[in-house]
Every structure is written in C-alpha cells, then in structure tokens.
C-alpha cells in the first residue's frame, strides 16, 4: 500500500513533466509576472503571463527550481491554462486545489479532471500539498497584483 501511494505520487506523467517542463523560461513582453517562494523548502516558481481581453491567458511560461512535485505542477498548469478565459482558469484552479486536498472536484469539466487527476496522489501526502499548489497561487498573484 505504501508503495502504491508512492508510485501514484511519482507516476511517469509527473516525472516527465518535472524532467522536461513545458513552457519553461522567461516570456518576452509579459503583461503580468509573479514570483512564488516556499520559505520552508526553498522551492521557487516565477510565472509570466500575457493576458488578453477579459484576462484571457493568451500566453504563459514559468521558470523555477524545486522538487519534482512543484516543477511538474507548474509545467502542467502552464499546459492547461494557456488559452483559457479568466473564469475558466479560476474554475480550474479551484478544482485543482480541491483535488490535491482529496476533496470533491466534481465541478471540474470531465476532460480537465482527467488531466489533473495525475496530481491527485498528492492528497495522500499532506506535507507536500504546498509543493503542488505553489505554481497556482503564483499564477493567481500574477493576475491580481503582477501587472508589469
């Protein structure tokens, strides 16, 4: 049982994202930017955004350093947020936060839920939830307070 929880946490999709992060690097001409930092473990994530009309995520990139969970989560987030309207992004984030805490995430659209469910294993590891949520909170900060 111990092993299966670990295998689920560190499944191939997550390790692949952490080793080969998508949308990695600084974003030229970003309209918004924020830096997230977890002082407990030193994980760092910088999220760059180009927001279009009504805060639609026209483009998104990130840079960071940290554990497999924090980097994989940031990479998956950029994949999923790109092209979303503000309302869609908001719903996605809320659903994600529910999912990693082991709470009901049924209000997520089905295909989103299926993609995010690979991060669901983190709910078995409460000490690591902050690693998974760092990028999302940083995205939120960038939208709200990060206009460049």
């Amino acid at each position: 049982m111990t092993d299966s929880a670990l295998r689920e946490l560190y499944q191939e999709v997550i390790l692949d994202h952490s080793r080969h992060p998508r949308h990695y690097g600084a974003l030229d001409g970003a309209s918004h930017k924020a830096e997230g930092y977890n002082p407990l473990c030193g994980d760092r994530v910088t999220v760059y955004l180009k927001l279009g009309d009504d805060n639609r995520v026209a483009d998104i990139k990130f840079e960071g350093k940290g554990c497999a969970i924090s980097q994989a989560s940031a990479s998956m987030m950029t994949d999923m947020l790109k092209g979303r309207t503000a309302a869609e992004a908001d719903r996605l984030m809320k659903g994600f936060l529910h999912l990693v805490k082991g709470e009901d995430a049924s209000d997520l659209p089905e295909d989103d839920r299926e993609r995010l469910e690979v991060m669901g294993g983190i709910s078995e590891f409460p000490m690591r939830v902050k690693c998974a949520t760092l990028a999302w909170h940083t995205y939120r900060n960038a939208v709200e307070e990060g206009a460049t």
């Binding site: 390790l15 940290g66 497999a68 590891f125």
Partner: protein
C-alpha cells in the same frame, strides 16, 4: 604510539551499549506506515529518554508550584528543583559559578539575549561582528538586527570546500572594529566542529569576546567553558534529549553584570515604583516571568542522563555510524556529500543528482526513515555550496548500524522511483 591508541579506542567503543540506550527511548519501538521507525533527525530535535518524561510527570504531580514567590512548602520545593537544575547546567558546562547560567527558552533566545542585552548597547555604526558562513539562522538573524538598526557590519568567514573552518581566515577577519565573534561549535548541516579554544585565543588576543552556538556541539562534545575561556555559550534542551521550551546561556560573570535587562516583568526586578525601578542581579535579571519550571527540571534530568554515560564512548559510537554511512554512500556515484571536515560530528548531508531533497525525504519517510530535507535554516551555507536544499541524516546515541542500512536501502528505492 599508534597501537595503544587504537586499542584504547576499541575499548571505548565497546563500553557504550547502544542497544541498552535504545531501550530508554520508548518512541523508537513504534512503527510508521507499518515500518520500523528509523529516526535520523535528532539534529532537528532529539527523542527523550523515559527518565526525562517520568521525572517531569513525577515533579508535576508531587512538587510543582511557582518558583521564587510563595513561602509555602511546594513553592520552596519547586524553587529548590529549579535552582538545582541551574547547578546541573553549571556542571554540564563546567562553569565556575551557578549564577553564570541564565535559563532561556532555547538556543535562539540565548543568542538574542546576548545580541540585545550585551552587544546592542556597544555597537556604533561601522562596528563589526564576525560570523562564519555555516551559522544557523539563529546565530545570524540577531546580528542582522544590529546591522539593520545600528549599522553594524557583518563579516563572513568562509569555510573550505570540505566544510572545515580556516582559522587564519577567521583571525584575519577580526579587526580593531570587531565587537564580537559569533561562531557555531558544530555545524548543523556540515557536522564541522570548530576549534573553539583556538578561536577564543585568537579573538582574545585582539580583545574581542566570543559567543559559541552550542546547540549541536554540546550534544556531541564535552564542553568546558572555563578551559575554553569562552565568553558566551548557548545550548538548547530539546537537542540534548530534554524537553522543548528550555535552554540556557552561559555568560561570564563580568559580562552578565554589565548587561541591560532583556524581557521586563516579574522576577527580574528588585523594586518597582511609579517613577523608578531597580533590577535584580543576574541571572534573575534575565529571567522575567514564570519560567518553564517543569521543562527546566526535565532539562536537568536529561543532562544528568548524559553525564551518567561514558560520553566519549557515546561520541565514538556516533562517529562509527557516520563513518559506516560515509563508506556505504560511496557506492552511489550520483550522491554528493556536503561536509567532509576532519573530525566532524555525526551529521551526513548530501545532494542526490536528479532527486530533490523533498522527493527523497518523502520516499524515505514511507520506508520509516525520518531525515531532514531543506535548507536547514542555513541559507548562507546553501549559497556557499551552490544548492537550495540538502538531505540530512543526523545520528544520535540511540542509532545503530541497522538504521544506516535502512537509509541506504531507502536511497536505492528512491533512485528506482525518481529516475
């Protein structure tokens, strides 16, 4: 000369019975996630022997009241125990006088007390405080306060690549402007043990006092503040197999007499009027408010427990574990040990290629192996070695070689999952 020394060493090792010591620590027999607990995080906080927990409960049930206040029976009994604990700390550090021991809530408060009460009134803009890059944040931040608020200059002494301290570099950093040298006795990350006696001699030659952060050092080394001739030495109870919330500062009597009060409140005064106040003598002057009385009794019990052991043999046992672990990890060409100073204490910090310390610690945890992962409150040191975090196994007197074996097999497993 070599042969007799080796024999003697072998004898010393044989005189410490780790299995017997383990029996004193009830928590070591528990399981986590269905696996045997392997506790390798005593550097963060040590487990408590049964005698400490029993003594605290017995004291609370039979002799507890507030100290230094009432005239009644229990208050007198509790005051006796509290002051006896001070003498136990005095003996543990071999201080000349019991009133050179100030109880604090831990090592952090002890160092903050020196910063606020001793050094702050002496600091003029441009005055220097000499530190090493391997200090714990608790021996950095109190000095940063003096930099921010009073214009003190922090002078950082580097360590060599193996983590050892270059005494000449430290000596060179001490100038006519230096007001204090603040240095760890043992690095909580590297395990490096600093040559305190030599440091004190060099600093005193230039008229500069020395503070040692002994939170790790006092656990593994036998401390003699008189032989060291050190000015300040800070300890914390919970790393010494005692309770949390209690620690102590040793300070030379002459310093204590000159130091301004720290916290204000009951216990630390002589007389309080509407328009004037006089203060109690040290150590009471620095112990405002009701102290953690039960914890103080617990600390004394822990120190008695340690002093009843053959401490040299216990240290040799811990060192054997470190040597064994160091040999074992050589098989991993993806693992870099950080801190290999000669004569270092029983701490093994490392970085593993392709595995972040937190991922590694999570996998080890599921094997029952508790290690620390992170920056260990030593970000200046992390920067020095170009890392953001490390994994750390710290060995205590109750660890055994089987604990190292569990760590090694956990490392194999983590490698399999993460890479």
């Amino acid at each position: 000369m070599t042969a007799p020394l080796l024999n003697q060493k072998a004898k010393i090792s044989a005189s410490f019975d780790a299995e017997a010591a383990r029996a004193d620590f009830a928590i070591l027999s528990r399981q986590v996630y269905g696996k045997k607990l392997v506790y390798l995080d005593s550097g963060a906080s040590a487990q408590k022997p049964r005698v400490v927990l029993d003594t605290m409960r017995d004291f609370a049930q039979s002799e507890y009241a507030n100290v230094h206040r009432g005239v009644h029976f229990l208050s007198a009994a509790a005051t006796d125990r509290y002051e006896a604990a001070r003498r136990t700390v005095q003996k543990f550090l071999n201080a000349a006088r019991e009133d050179e021991i100030v109880f604090t809530k831990g090592g952090t408060e002890a160092i903050n007390l020196v910063s606020y009460s001793y050094l702050s009134p002496l600091i003029q803009p441009g005055d220097e405080i000499v530190l090493t890059v391997m200090e714990h944040h608790s021996n950095i931040v109190p000095w940063h306060f003096l930099r921010e608020r009073q214009g003190a200059v922090l002078k950082w002494v580097d360590v060599r690549d193996d983590g050892s301290l270059d005494i000449e570099a430290l000596d060179a950093a001490i100038t006519a402007k230096t007001k204090l040298v603040a240095v760890t006795h043992m690095s909580n990350v590297l395990g490096t043990i600093t040559p305190l006696k030599e440091i004190v001699a060099r600093a005193h030659a230039k008229g500069v006092p020395v503070l040692a952060d002994g939170c790790q050092g006092a656990v593994h080394e036998t401390v003699d503040v008189q032989a060291l001739d050190i000015d300040f030495y800070a300890i914390t109870g919970h790393k010494l197999y005692g309770p949390t919330g209690i620690g102590a500062l040793y300070a030379k009597r002459a310093h204590l007499k000159a130091m301004r009060p720290f916290n204000g409140g009951g216990e630390m005064i002589r007389e309080v009027m509407k328009d004037r106040i006089t203060y109690a003598d040290a150590p009471a002057r620095f112990e405002a408010g009701t102290p953690p009385i039960i914890e103080t009794v617990g600390l004394a019990t822990a120190l008695d427990y340690l002093m009843a052991l053959d401490r040299k043999a216990a240290a040799a046992h811990e060192h054997d574990l470190l040597t064994y672990a160091r040999e074992q990890v050589k098989q991993f060409n993806w693992l870099r040990v950080i801190g290999d100073a000669p004569g270092k204490g029983a701490i093994l910090s490392f970085e593993a290629e392709g595995m972040h310390a937190h991922d590694l610690a999570t996998i080890l945890d599921r094997e029952g192996v508790a290690v620390r992962a992170g920056h260990h409150c030593a970000q200046v040191l992390m920067e020095r070695f170009g890392v953001t975090s490390t994994s750390r196994a710290s060995f205590a007197l109750y660890n055994i070689r089987a604990d190292v074996d569990a760590l090694i097999s956990g490392l194999h497993k983590a490698r399999g999952i993460l890479t």
